[in-house]
């Protein structure tokens, strides 16, 4: 079986985001970029499935500008066998990403696609679900445990009410939650080896997908500053303060 894993280049989780002064977006100039953490978990899961003997090949795919080749190389160093870049300059919205991924899926015929449940830049949480619908195959989102047996996958999902276990027929789309696994560190010798692994580039034209986005983003603004708390002397003052604000 072949596993396809999506990898997105995003602003590093620990970077304090700055909005551009004109509100047109987030300042990414000189900002540290990393693999979307959920995608790193997706790749780790794929590698573990392969290491357990349940898959032969892991292919990482990223939709983005040439800069995302850096994250693909990291994926190769973690242990992926091949990488595919779908070249797009500028932002990619979920439906566009899902359409492009569908074309790659049709080409590669994977038995399993693992994506992050969302990318931490736009927090859309849509691409996996959209790909599943376009592809006409089952989806198992928010996975915290994945077990493969023959033609099916048993997936534990993290849902609002707790955990839900479902079984899906393969091929399927799985999206990862935080607790699925802890991604490995990248070994330095493997970074050398990754330089020799294949990285193919496809264009949206070649895939026959329009890179145009359906949603126009109007404006970006930072969240309002949190107000300082106030100290109250006793329970009565607390009750009064809450009442005053209509909270009680």
């Amino acid at each position: 079986m072949k596993i396809l894993v999506g990898i997105k280049r995003v602003v590093d989780y620990n970077v304090r985001i700055r909005i551009l002064p004109d509100g047109s977006g987030v300042d990414t100039d000189g900002v540290k970029m990393s693999i979307n953490p959920f995608d790193e978990i997706a790749l780790e899961e794929a590698l573990r499935i392969k290491e357990a003997g349940n898959a032969e090949e892991v292919v990482v795919v990223s939709i983005g500008s040439d800069a995302c080749q850096q994250q693909l190389r990291t994926g190769l160093a973690m242990g992926a066998d091949r990488a595919i870049q779908v070249q797009v300059d500028g932002p990619v919205q979920p439906l566009t990403a899902a359409r492009a991924l569908l074309k790659v899926v049709e080409k590669e015929q994977p038995g399993l696609v693992i994506l992050g449940k969302q990318a931490i830049d736009d927090d859309n949480n849509q691409t996996g679900q959209m790909l599943s619908a376009l592809w006409g195959r089952p989806q198992a989102t928010f996975a915290s445990k994945v077990e493969l047996a023959g033609e099916t996958a048993t997936v534990t999902r993290e849902v609002d009410s707790g955990l839900e276990v479902i079984e899906v027929d393969l091929p399927a789309v799985i999206t990862t939650d935080l607790r699925l696994n802890e991604p490995r560190f990248v070994k330095l010798p493997d970074i050398m080896k990754a330089k020799r692994k294949p990285l193919d580039t496809l264009t949206m034209d070649e895939l026959g997908v329009s890179a145009e986005n359906d949603i126009q983003v109007g404006h970006h603004a930072p969240p309002p500053q949190r107000q300082r708390g106030i100290m109250v002397e006793d329970a009565q003052q607390l009750v009064d303060a809450l009442k005053e604000r209509g909270l009680l």
Partner: protein
């Protein structure tokens, strides 16, 4: 003075609510993180101004009291431990950041400001306070100055001393001094600010500190590298040092790593077995830096200096790798390790480490000995763990006598028996291995000049 009168005197200075004598407070504030000494203070006081500190010192002079200045109590040498009925002067309430001055690139703090808060304040100014270590979430800036704290970025930025722009101090005689005044240049005689730095509360109580800030460094990447022997790590540092800007170069032994991994259920950096590891943090201003570091790594592997290594791919991973080093001290704490904090010149580190390894084998065969430290600064922490079943006193005695051989070796190398943790109570009997009799005599006369009645931290550093 009898106890009620003493307490009444203290309360007059700091106020009714800020003198504590309950058992919990005495046990808690009576010692620092070195738990080899029994705390026995008479009271703990919490002044909230330089004036109150001064009044406490004057009271101490008047009534022949002994005061123990107390910061975040993360010290590792018993410097903030009160074993003889002293009054602990906790600086906890003097925790205000007084002001920041972007033009001077300084921030001015009361002594009780937590080190991590200085980091945060500097960051909010787009600048950087570089002294950092595993206890910076609890230690005070005043405590850092009093111990001249080092930490993990000394190799690039030096010790706390380099960043002290000005100090406000109450001397043992009760005089208030304004030292340095934030000036960059001031060659008007002896720089008393530097005498206060590292004085461990024996010359004056620091009530305020103006700290210099550095430009914020670029992104950093972290590698953990495995080697067959400790002494190979210095040539590794040389190769990386000429390839990239090194922010930190730390090391730890496999035994130390195992303790941290087991306790916190962390991920091993890699499976290849290695007896020692180096952690290197370097500035990653552009892709070229990572390539240069990769080349250095390849060279080291080709020269059989390293067996394997990993590199962080995100700041979360950098943080995860740092934990392997930074969590060691806290992980071992419950075993009450006997700590040696030794340093030699960086160029002497390989021979010194070879000597240390041989020494451990010969003298500590029955003990678990864990090594880690700031190897890039020539600084090695040797932690001897108490065997289960051995009493604390017997353990302390054995370690102290074994340490003598170690200190003789340090002396032969022209090294220090306390690289960054200070002398406090723990190392005062060993001071002569690093300082000449004449130096010690000069230190004593300096102490007398600042604190003629000997009210500040008596019995610390020397008797």
């Amino acid at each position: 003075m009898n106890k009620p009168a003493l307490l009444a005197g203290l309360r007059r200075v700091v106020g009714e609510d800020f003198v504590r004598t309950d058992e919990d407070s005495l046990a808690h504030f009576g010692r620092d993180t070195c738990d080899l000494f029994e705390p026995a203070p008479s009271a703990v006081v919490f002044p909230d101004s330089t004036q109150q500190v001064r009044d406490l010192v004057l009271l101490a002079n008047d009534q022949a009291l002994a005061l123990v200045p107390s910061g975040g109590r993360t010290g590792l040498s018993g410097g903030a431990t009160a074993t003889r009925g002293e009054i602990v002067v906790s600086m906890e309430r003097m925790n205000a950041v007084i002001g920041s001055n972007p033009g001077d690139r300084t921030i001015e703090c009361q002594a009780g400001v937590i080190t991590a808060q200085v980091h945060a304040q500097a960051e909010s100014m787009g600048l950087f306070y570089p002294v950092d270590f595993a206890a910076s979430g609890s230690s005070h800036i005043g405590g850092n100055v009093a111990t001249n704290a080092g930490g993990v970025r000394v190799i690039r930025y030096g010790m706390t001393r380099n960043w002290v722009a000005g100090l406000q101090v109450v001397t043992g005689a009760g005089e208030i001094l304004e030292l340095g005044k934030g000036l960059v240049k001031d060659n008007t005689g002896y720089d008393l600010r530097h005498l206060m730095t590292g004085s461990e509360g024996t010359l004056g109580i620091i009530t305020g500190a103006t700290m210099r800030l550095a430009s914020a460094p670029g992104d950093a990447a972290v590698m953990v590298l495995g080697a067959e022997q400790m002494e190979l790590l210095l040539p590794v540092l040389e190769r990386f040092g000429s390839a990239v800007t090194v922010n930190a170069f730390e090391f730890f032994s496999e035994q130390a790593l195992q303790q941290v991994i087991e306790k916190h259920r962390l991920q091993r950096p890699f499976e290849t077995p290695a007896p020692v590891y180096a952690l290197i943090e370097f500035e990653q201003a552009n892709d070229g830096d990572v390539d240069a570091a990769m080349n250095a790594f390849e060279q080291c592997v080709a020269d059989s200096l390293l067996v394997d290594g990993v590199i962080s791919q995100s700041s979360s991973q950098a943080h995860a790798l740092w934990r392997l080093r930074e969590d060691i001290s806290a992980t071992l704490a419950h075993r009450q390790p006997y700590k040696n904090d030794l340093s030699v010149r960086v160029s002497a580190v390989p021979q010194f480490l070879a000597g240390v390894e041989a020494f451990i084998e010969q003298n500590y065969s029955g003990f678990e000995v864990l090594c880690y430290g700031h190897i890039g600064d020539g600084n090695v922490h040797l932690n001897i763990l108490r065997p289960h079943g051995m009493g604390l006193e017997a353990f302390k005695k054995t370690c102290a006598s074994i340490s003598e051989g170690l200190f003789e070796m340090v002396q032969r190398f022209g090294g220090s028996v306390s690289a960054e943790h200070g002398v406090g109570l723990l190392k005062k009997d060993s001071l002569h291995y690093s300082r000449s009799a004449h130096e010690l005599e000069l230190m004593r006369s300096i102490k007398r000049a600042f604190d003629p009645a000997g009210v500040l931290n008596p019995g610390k550093i020397f008797d």
